[in-house]
């Protein structure tokens, strides 16, 4: 059909991708640039910033905190998500739409409002701010994303498989563990990875609810004011981008494998 129109659109789409990737492509350039000022022209190649990053004690503490938070929040969010996804795809009950909608609310609520209201309550109750309070907040905001992925996994499940297990004498729990769980496992792994990535990158809630504990994003934020610290931040950013991309690629792989296993299309879900 109309070739020229297709080509024009393709050129536009490629330019758009370039615009999307512009900042990320600059990241490694400045991370390996030996100049201390983040501007062109470039000076020379160095790995010093990565070495400095490795030797930074606060940064290590921030990394440990971030990993602790991300692992805990992603496991909690996915577990709670399994309950919600299973309930909303398998059963009809009064208030299903309302309750599910409410659980999904953090997806469309400005994060500053979630963070501020939770902070006010925690301070009012006299709760000590720590990484524990961040985990509480991150679980809340990761849960809707986990549910979105898990619902796709659960809803494309063939109910007769479970019924077959009942007929063969399995208990409710036995059927879930032996039939349902293996089939939705790719969805669960995908939900874990997405939640982990969201939590690792989340700034607002960590900034307000962590007290004096640093996380990677709040550490980055605190360093952006100091021009001398920027090259190290660029190195850190490069590492984080690589980690995120790897995790997402693994998540995407599992999601597609899961879809293939239950005969779904390769697209759909969160992507």
């Amino acid at each position: 059909m109309n070739r020229s129109r297709g080509r024009g659109l393709q050129a536009y789409a490629v330019l758009y991708l370039l615009f999307l990737y512009a900042p990320i492509l600059l990241l490694p350039i400045f991370a390996f640039n030996s100049g201390t000022i983040i501007a062109f022209p470039l000076q020379g190649v160095t790995t010093e910033w990565f070495a400095q990053m490795w030797g930074n004690a606060t940064l290590r503490r921030a990394l440990t905190n971030s990993l602790t938070i991300a692992v805990s929040a992603s496991i909690l969010a996915t577990c709670l998500g399994v309950f919600a996804a299973r309930a909303s795809t398998r059963f009809t009950f009064p208030g299903r739409g309302g309750m599910t909608g409410f659980i999904m609310l953090p997806m469309v609520l400005p994060e500053i409002i979630v963070a501020m209201s939770l902070l006010v309550v925690l301070l009012g109750l006299g709760v000590q701010l720590s990484i524990l309070t961040v985990i509480l907040g991150h679980t809340l905001i990761c849960m809707p994303y986990a549910i979105a992925i898990l619902s796709t996994a659960f809803s494309s499940l063939d109910r007769s498989l479970e019924e077959a297990a009942y007929d063969l004498g399995e208990s409710r729990w036995g059927a879930f563990r032996l039939v349902t769980l293996p089939l939705v496992m790719p969805g669960i792994i995908s939900a874990l990875l997405i939640s982990f990535t969201i939590s690792l990158d989340e700034f607002i809630i960590a900034f307000f609810l962590a007290g004096t504990e640093p996380t990677l994003p709040t550490y980055i934020f605190s360093q952006l004011r100091f021009p001398r610290a920027i090259p190290v931040i660029m190195a850190l950013g490069t590492v984080l981008v690589v980690i995120s991309v790897v995790l997402l690629a693994i998540g995407e792989y599992f999601r597609r494998r899961g879809n293939a296993r239950i005969g779904g299309s390769p697209t759909g879900g969160l992507m």
């Binding site: 990320i24 309750m99 599910t100 400005p110 209201s117």
Partner: protein, 290 residues
């Protein structure tokens, strides 16, 4: 019998959804109700007095600073939403209609990756790109296209708009893509067979059918941008606050929780009203479809 079965199913469903629902009640609903209550109370020194008042809302409505910041947030969010959706539509269209089916997933994956990388660093990099000695200005002066660095992109509302439009681009593409994918291709052929031009087919068939996706994209971009905290802080250096920055300042720096709560509640109301308007529009489009 049927009744008992339904009840058993309802019970099973309710007990399953209880843990996540209770969690959301505890961590989300209780805090939201708390700030709703705070917004009607009086601010005392270092404490919140239990005297009911509407003064906080009066102040939100009349204070000139609040009005400036509120208008700025609305305008920025509006412009960002318009720009993002207009720029995203052709990309979604290209991926849905022109890309071969087996390559679609890869395109979507490529589009979403930048969204998952550190938001803070991306925002900061835009500051680097747009800054006085930034990538844009140093390249343009280097190439001899301009003599003086461009100033209209420096640390101001324009740079906030560009940064936010970049940050939320994938949010706009995905819902539009999903809507376009759902369009029955034979409808387009029918339009062409009945003698419509390509442009008219797009205008009268494709666009109306894609409208639910466009409206979803509008909402999904507008809501987080109006509440964005990081971009005004990093790009504007705290000098061009948006509503989220104002809420934070009132809640923490000035320790005026009632006023901060009233601002937060007002923001949620604005978001809710905008959402309802667009959802009503969506309903109209859906009716036209049937």
């Amino acid at each position: 019998m049927a009744r008992a079965k339904l009840d058993a199913e309802a019970r099973a469903g309710l007990s399953l959804i209880a843990p996540p629902f209770l969690y959301a009640l505890l961590i989300l609903a209780a805090p939201l109700l708390t700030i709703l209550a705070y917004s009607f109370l009086t601010d005392g020194y270092l404490e919140v007095l239990r005297e009911l008042t509407l003064d906080n809302y009066l102040q939100v409505l009349t204070d000139p600073i609040v009005r400036v910041v509120m208008m700025r947030s609305l305008i920025v969010a509006g412009v960002v939403t318009l720009a993002t959706v207009l720029l995203a539509f052709p990309v979604a269209y290209y991926v849905s209609f022109m890309v071969r089916p087996e390559k679609k997933a890869m395109w979507l994956f490529l589009i979403t990756i930048p969204f998952w990388t550190s938001y803070l660093i991306r925002v900061f990099l835009w500051k680097v790109i747009l800054g006085y000695n930034g990538v844009v200005n140093s390249s343009l002066t280097g190439l001899g296209i301009i003599d003086e660095p461009l100033t209209f992109i420096l640390y101001n509302v324009n740079s906030i708009v560009i940064t936010l439009a970049h940050a939320y681009a994938p949010f706009a593409i995905l819902p539009i893509f999903v809507a376009l994918e759902k369009i029955d291709r034979s409808l387009l052929e029918a339009g062409r067979d009945l003698g419509e031009s390509r442009a008219m087919t797009f205008w009268r068939v494709t666009l109306p059918l894609a409208m639910p996706g466009v409206i979803a994209a509008v909402l999904i971009v507008f809501i987080p941008t109006i509440g964005d905290y990081v971009t005004p802080e990093v790009i504007g250096g705290g000098k061009i606050p948006m509503i989220a920055n104002l809420i934070q300042v009132q809640m923490l720096a000035l320790d005026n929780r009632p006023l901060g709560s009233a601002l937060a509640v007002t923001t949620m109301l604005i978001v809710a009203v905008v959402s309802l308007i667009f959802l009503a529009l969506n309903r109209r489009f859906l009716r036209v479809r049937q």
